[in-house]
């Protein structure tokens, strides 16, 4: 394998990993931008989507409908979370919202552990088998799952960008995340905006869950934790609350992780997560508000 081939291979891997982090990070950033709430249960939506698919697939309706129903189910779950758990603590101190979301996450995880056992289950027979095919170009091997991940993420970004810039609801969402009070005073229906943020974020988390499970080939009730943590780091690196920042942060993280594995001696590569968090610390030392984060000062 030549160096160029190696670079191409690793770049594709990094883009694919970064895409999954980005899909998760967008939902986190969207909700945080509006409510200052770090939704720890966001990763569990990935897990729930996979489990719904796992049980629906045996009904024999085929992957397409199963996929759509699973995404629909987590979208509803996300909306339900907001209504039941987060709306009552809206405007409460950050710590209370943080603990509430932690509680929601632990609650969902344990429900799944109790009723479905913590034993991992295979996800191999659920996603279409063509995803596992590896295309060879010389020494470069790119699996279909990587291509699909990158393409789906790109399409979703474009749709999301169009939504937040071209539609009234999307514009309201940007205004609300800029300034909650001002948004209400210009006549934005913030309940609707918050609901939309949860719905979009949850759907994206569900899609990310599928892509994540397809890479690993298995699912378990705690599978959402690591991607959530990575997406959180991505969002912080990018500048928490900013959608563009979350996406940039996610790809920075994806590249850092993949190239660290590639260049580090094998004895150290199992510590890659430690390096990821060192990266987080470094970024925050240099830019405390993240790459795209801005310090807002009041002007006189």
């Amino acid at each position: 394998m030549t160096f160029i081939e190696y670079l191409i291979q690793q770049t594709i891997n990094a883009l694919s990993l970064g895409s999954i982090y980005a899909l998760v990070a967008i939902g986190l950033a969207m909700v945080f931008g509006i409510l200052r709430l770090i939704n720890f249960a966001h990763g569990d939506l990935m897990m729930v989507a996979c489990y719904v698919a796992f049980f629906l697939i045996s009904s024999g309706i085929g992957f397409g409908p199963v996929f759509i129903l699973s995404i629909l189910a987590v979208t509803l779950l996300g909306i339900l979370m907001e209504r039941v758990a987060y709306r009552p603590v809206r405007g409460a101190p950050d710590v209370i919202m943080l603990l509430t979301s932690l509680a929601v996450s632990i609650f969902i995880q344990n429900i799944f552990i109790m009723f479905l056992s913590p034993v991992p289950r295979s996800f191999r027979n659920i996603t279409p088998s063509f995803l596992d095919i590896v295309n060879k170009w010389g020494a470069v091997g790119i699996s279909n799952i990587n291509i699909v991940t990158i393409v789906i993420t790109a399409i979703l970004f474009i749709l999301l960008t169009l939504f937040v810039t071209k539609t009234r609801l999307g514009t309201s969402m940007r205004a609300t995340s800029e300034n909650l009070i001002a948004a209400q005073l210009i006549g934005v229906h913030i309940d609707r905006v918050i609901l939309t943020a949860f719905a979009i974020g949850s759907a994206m988390a569900g899609i990310a869950g599928f892509l994540w499970a397809a890479r690993l080939g298995k699912i378990d009730p705690l599978m959402g934790f690591i991607p959530l943590l990575k997406a959180f780091v991505a969002a912080v690196i990018g500048g928490f609350g900013s959608l563009g920042g979350a996406v940039i942060g996610a790809y920075v993280l994806g590249f850092a992780e993949i190239f660290l594995i590639g260049f580090l001696p094998p004895s150290l590569s199992s510590y890659r997560d430690a390096f990821v968090f060192v990266l987080l610390i470094l970024v925050l030392l240099i830019r405390p508000n993240g790459i795209l984060g801005s310090t807002e000062r009041e002007k006189v």
Binding site: R168, T171, S172, R174, A175, E178, N179, I181, A182, Q184, L185, I186, G187, V188, H189, I190, D191, S294, E296, E298, K299, V300
Partner: protein, 234 residues
């Protein structure tokens, strides 16, 4: 036009408004003055629906609006330029103004209102494509008022428009408030700068520790010895 009766509002256990009543007639410029913490901002926030009263009523054009959500109140024609301005700092001046009209569909009328805002504050036209966070404090205040006007309100609520501004800018802001009123607008102005507020207002209310202790025409309040001592600096 706006009639508030025995309004009681609290933050948790702390009662901020202890049953205030006030009236704003169509075409009037009414001011609510009082020191820091008297409850002025609380009053405007409640009118705008950001806070819900414990008891009492707010009647606007014959309808009880006390339980409505903020966006429903804007839809009925009440808009507010809040204390501290709360402009959308990362968006441009133009985007800020367009957001002020977010509930409207009448594009031609929106354009006309934007032109009207430019006649009040020509600097906003010059700064149209500039990011709002880079404006000076006075320009941001103009933007906040301009944005409030973009919903084409029948009643404009202004919270401390002179806060933190140099005297020359305060003059300019107050001149534009007078202009809005002269063209038929109805304004409820909350101010710590009582002297300025009473110069342009028709009537005024003095709020102290959550109660209205005085109400009179602006002229009477200007010459009232108590008001003079407490709020006009002797």
């Amino acid at each position: 036009m706006l009639k508030i009766k025995n309004l009681v509002v609290a933050y948790g256990n702390i009662i901020a408004l202890q049953g205030i009543s006030l009236l704003v007639e169509e075409g009037e410029l009414v001011t609510l003055i009082g020191s820091n913490g008297a409850g002025k901002t609380t009053c405007l926030k409640t009118i705008s629906g950001l806070l819900k009263p414990i008891s009492g009523s707010i009647t606007y054009l014959g309808e009880d609006t006390a339980r409505l959500l903020p966006h429903e109140i804007v839809k009925r024609g009440i808009s507010q330029s809040p204390e501290g301005r709360h402009i959308f700092a990362r968006l441009t001046v133009g985007e800020n103004l367009m957001l002020g009209a977010i509930q409207r569909n009448d594009n031609i009328a929106i354009k006309a209102d934007q032109e009207y805002v430019f006649t009040l504050f020509p600097i906003l036209k010059e700064r149209f494509n500039q990011v709002a966070g880079t404006l000076s404090g006075g320009e941001q205040q103009m933007l906040a008022i301009g944005r409030a006007l973009m919903s084409h309100p029948r009643l404009l609520l202004l919270d401390e428009p002179s806060l933190g501004l140099a005297p020359i800018l305060v003059q300019r802001i107050f001149a534009s408030i007078q202009k809005v009123r002269a063209e038929g607008g109805t304004v409820l102005l909350v101010e710590q700068n009582a002297r300025q507020a009473l110069t342009i207002a028709d009537r005024g209310y003095v709020l102290e520790a959550g109660r209205i202790i005085l109400e009179a025409t602006a002229e009477e309040l200007r010459t009232n010895s108590e008001v003079e001592k407490a709020y006009l600096g002797g």
